[in-house]
């Protein structure tokens, strides 16, 4: 089916004239009509506008004016990212009537590349506080199993991509919010280097750790998307004016001669680790070794401390953003988001400075540990995917994932599926991290692993048809 094809394949069909952008958009809208009433990933659809844009793209392509690989390909946005004239609610009643006048920088880039905007995707309220239970919209369902969590906060983005409702969605990642749901839903999620992708027009949560990145069904799609998104934005003070690599040029170069740092101690000795995860991770290590890479175990800085620092910064920076609304309209927040943000009220300015000092030292430790390697491989989430009714697991979800160190350091980090659990039938994943602004190398290793592990075309069973 057209909706299940990866972005790059659809793009090639469009360029060869075998499929039109209108047919692609129609297929995507049909899939959404079929799956979204159950999975609840999309909260806003621009179907008619999307078809009009697709017809325009078709004319341009027929006239020989091909803008690039995203021309005529549908995309969707986490509802934290602005599209002019369409509400950005952040899944909160606080913002339900707010409509931006301008596109976020990333939205504008995708539209300039000829991609077709489809709609907005549900998020945890203001990207924090766990799966929404009393926010503006409910949490989406995991297309692999309605009984298991999607994780968040870019849950709608992960669900929509996994279920074939859109080949490209954007997410945001402050404490793992792209990589966590990507892992649980079996898609590829990239948190680029801090400063690589503009955050202008994206609602902030904790600005010193906020990142925007693409979520796709395979590594090549992700690289093509980041190619359109990466670059300098003079109106984002954190944006870096550095050259952008060609992310697909060396993608098929293999891993021979690369030095891979392995961070595995932390989950090999944790009784909560899913043995299926470890098995898939080791299969990845074997594949890298067979491909000629050199593997070296490297230490991770104290994970509990990394998590404490990252969670503290999120609390403090998030509270700083929300304090006026928490004072004036607290009744408009859902309980999970409000509780999470209010934690920040109890920190002092001195606590913030301590957190930033510790952050600097943790970054130094991570840099020292990885100085002799080209890429780090580690887990993303390493416990079995929790059930939605498991409140203990929900409260402790941050303990069994290795995302926050790379939010603190700002290094690029990419999550890819590593297989499917033979126990519960849910996707497994692994994480690659690299030196700042070396996303191309991450894509090269990720592509190799994806081919070696056979995870380029994971599809969830279409069980959502049977979900009541």
């Amino acid at each position: 089916m057209l909706a299940e094809k990866p972005l790059y394949a659809v793009s090639e069909l469009i360029r060869r004239g075998e499929v039109s952008p209108v047919e692609v958009t129609e297929a995507i809208l049909q899939r959404i009509e079929h799956a979204n009433p159950v999975l609840k990933a999309f909260i806003q659809l621009s179907g008619d506008k999307a078809l009009a844009d697709a017809r325009r793209a078709e004319k341009e392509i027929h006239a020989g004016r091909v803008r690039g690989p995203l021309h005529g390909v549908p995309f969707a946005l986490k509802d934290l990212i602005d599209h002019a004239g369409i509400p950005t609610t952040a899944n909160s009643r606080v913002l339900q009537d707010w409509t931006p006048e301008r596109h976020a920088h990333v939205t504008g880039l995708l539209k300039e590349a000829g991609a077709i905007y489809i709609g907005k995707l549900v998020t945890n309220e203001f990207a924090c506080g766990g799966a929404p239970t009393d926010a503006l919209h409910p949490a989406p369902l995991n297309p692999w199993s309605a009984d298991h969590v999607t994780a968040g906060s870019s849950s709608g983005s992960a669900v929509a991509v996994a279920a074939g409702m859109v080949p490209l969605a954007l997410g945001t990642d402050t404490n793992g919010s792209i990589r966590n749901p990507a892992s649980r839903c079996g898609v590829v999620g990239m948190k680029p280097t801090y400063g690589r992708v503009s955050r202008r027009g994206v609602l902030p949560l904790a600005p010193s750790m906020d990142h925007v990145g693409p979520m796709t069904r395979c590594v090549r799609d992700n690289a093509l998307a980041l190619q359109a998104l990466a670059g300098f934005d003079r109106r984002d003070a954190t944006s870096r004016n550095l050259p952008v690599d060609d992310y697909t040029r060396d993608m098929e170069a293999g891993v021979k001669g690369l030095r891979i740092g392995v961070i595995a101690d932390i989950f090999r000795h944790d009784p909560m680790t899913d043995p299926q995860h470890t098995q898939a991770f080791d299969a990845g290590l074997d594949a890298l070794s067979s491909g000629g890479a050199t593997l070296t175990e490297i230490p991770l800085p104290d994970l509990a401390l990394c998590n404490a620092v990252a969670r503290s910064l999120l609390s403090m920076e998030g509270f700083a953003m929300h304090e006026p609304w928490l004072n004036s309209v607290p009744h408009l927040y859902g309980s999970g988001c409000k509780s999470r943000l209010l934690q920040g009220a109890f920190f002092s300015a001195a606590d913030y400075l301590r957190a930033q000092r510790l952050r600097g030292r943790l970054i130094e430790q991570l840099a020292a540990a990885s100085a002799q390697v080209d890429v780090i491989i580690t887990a993303s989430c390493y416990n079995a995917t929790p059930r939605v009714d498991d409140e203990i697991a929900a409260a402790k979800r941050h303990l069994y994932q290795l995302h926050m160190p790379f939010n603190l350091s700002g290094q690029p980090a990419l999550v890819i599926p590593s297989g499917v659990s033979q126990i519960d039938g849910l996707p497994l994943s692994l994480q690659l991290a690299g030196r700042p602004f070396e996303e191309a190398l991450l894509y090269r290793v990720a592509y190799y692993l994806e081919q070696a592990l056979g995870t380029a075309s994971l599809q969830p069973p279409q069980a959502w048809e049977a979900v009541p």
Binding site: A131, S312, I392, A395
Partner: protein, 93 residues
Amino acid sequence: MSVSDDRPTQDMRQPGPPGLSHDQPAAAMLPSRHGDVFKYWQDKRVLASDDALLRCLEQARECIEQMHTALSCREEAFTHVHLEPTSQKTDAG
């Protein structure tokens, strides 16, 4: 989401000021700065219950204590570092 399972147990608690006990009303349990903040949000009735607000405080304190412990250890280590001058001596005149 329930955060109740994330609460530190009584045994894990750092010693607090005199009278800090789960048996007492929430606002009476807190050190002064946290007590003031607690009372401010309590008076605004921003959360459904005092217990919910107390859980926010406990989660914040857990992070604060972890950071304090880590920094005090590191600062102790830092006192043993002897910095060496890196600039070359120059001949005056």
